[in-house]
Symmetry: C2
Subunit: 356 residues, 2 copies
Amino acid sequence: MTQKLVFTNLVGEAIDKLVDDLGNPPVYILVDVNTAKCVLPVLLEQSVSATRAKVITVKAGEVNKNLDNLQTVWKSLQDAGATRNSVIINVGGGVVTDLGGFAAATFKRGMKVINVPTTLLGAVDASVGGKTGINFNGYKNELGTFTEPEATIISTGFFITLPQQELLSGYAEMLKHALLENRDELNRLLNYSVVYPIFNADTLLPLIESTVQVKSRIVEQDFREAGLRKALNLGHTVGHAFESLALKRKSPIAHGYAVAQGLVVALVLSHLKLGFPSDVLHTFAHYIRENYGAFDIDCDDYPELLKYMHADKKNTQEGLIAFTLLADVGDVKTDCQTTPDEVKSALDIYRDLMGI
Amino acid sequence: MTQKLVFTNLVGEAIDKLVDDLGNPPVYILVDVNTAKCVLPVLLEQSVSATRAKVITVKAGEVNKNLDNLQTVWKSLQDAGATRNSVIINVGGGVVTDLGGFAAATFKRGMKVINVPTTLLGAVDASVGGKTGINFNGYKNELGTFTEPEATIISTGFFITLPQQELLSGYAEMLKHALLENRDELNRLLNYSVVYPIFNADTLLPLIESTVQVKSRIVEQDFREAGLRKALNLGHTVGHAFESLALKRKSPIAHGYAVAQGLVVALVLSHLKLGFPSDVLHTFAHYIRENYGAFDIDCDDYPELLKYMHADKKNTQEGLIAFTLLADVGDVKTDCQTTPDEVKSALDIYRDLMGI
């Protein structure tokens, strides 16, 4: 259940090597309209496999990670005569790797996948861990599978031209991993800045590597999210609810921004229920507020947010919401059963901390 | 990757025991309109878990093993608040177990499944082996996963009221397994009759058990159909093409009937390419012709049939079709690369043998 992680800036070469290792099967490249314009031309210059590939293009953005686009991919693969031995190379952010991964996992009961994340978020999160999926009927990642790609190629070359917001979005997941590790790692990240023009791709690379390895280690030990892997859910129960609410408001927010906010709420709950240190909570909340701003909610939104949290796929006890929380930095407690009232209190304090 | 196989006529008791072993999670029962009428009332009488289950009903028949019905199941699970720990009990033939299995494998990235096949075909084939899926865009089982259920409960109690055609349909898969085993097993089946009124559920049971165990052994050794499992594909490359053609003609034929015809074509090809004994071929073809009749094709249908065969998900070499064939009964050769001309010759001889 382990996949190859390739850290390199020679992406074309890495692709050709991997495709060669797979016996040079037919190749399909999945891009969205953005990566079709910005990344695909680079790959076509650098990779022989890319030049002979059939390219499938889907619309960009979270709102398009849906059944319609999934059908587009399935149909394109079918029309082109893809077989179970063909390989699909997903070139894009989490939307492309999640959607392409799900299409590949289910087309003819499974074809091969290589992920080439083009966003920081994709590199540190979506392309590692085997989660594939789409949104359905207003809920995030409601449908999907656990299916590891053959390999993921991670290159900082793609990240230096990312918009500021994209970088911060990915950085939120890195902060999460640091919270799961230890105070040194957390302080290292809280003292680093991905804000232009200070940000530097070379100094970011070692941080990405250690972050990805943290996740990779956890996933290897618990592929199907039976226990330990729930640690990675830190900040996501509320984060997903914020994302769902934003989708409903027709103004989607970046996943990482939602996670950043969700982490603050998770730390508040951790403080209330497990005595997570107040000073770290305040330092962390301050960093998020400064760099990410706040997600605008008031108490009228609570019922809707709680509805989304109750629908979270990690819940197992009816009426309660299962949170991953921290007794301290690096001291993870999964399955903390939480009442709606506790969540409401935490949201009150969150709004206070964020000044809304 | 192994699932429990429970052979019993006390189905309700078996369900309650299994659900109890799973920690009594919320239970969903998937039925089609037929099993809702004929089987569900029996389960509701016999099983406590069934009485507290939410029932999801879909349309019956192969034409409804499609994305529309899959969406119906996904949506019903979502609306009812199913979690990853919930269990879905698929009560029906291959359509219900394939569709319900696919829905469960992908809903929130995977919930638990118990299969209760109500047809002989479902018992000997669809409910063992972890294949889930739906038809898509005119092609059989184009989308799906390999996902084992927690358990499959096999009861001959459901089969005694099956129409003659259903029994023969399941029996075709049993014949396939016998061809993969040895001459004794094959002769045992060719001398047995599932034709009413001679047929007897008690004498059938040991034949089902040995058949299911044959398949179970093969699947355990090769879950993802990388090699050995392709043996189970005997007769299916042509069988699926016949099914697809029948679907296109808007007069779907039973899967087992298509397999029965496909087995004859596979044995013809086996004779032509690998010297499979002519006398067994003729005895077998005679048995199929007598019990199943022929599938009506002429040479105008060949291009369409070849197109379907080329699209088969087991193909790996372009231009050729990969067949599972036999050098003799029990002597399986997988991946026999076959040219379109060889297939056409085999179809000519098939028509001759079947008198069409």
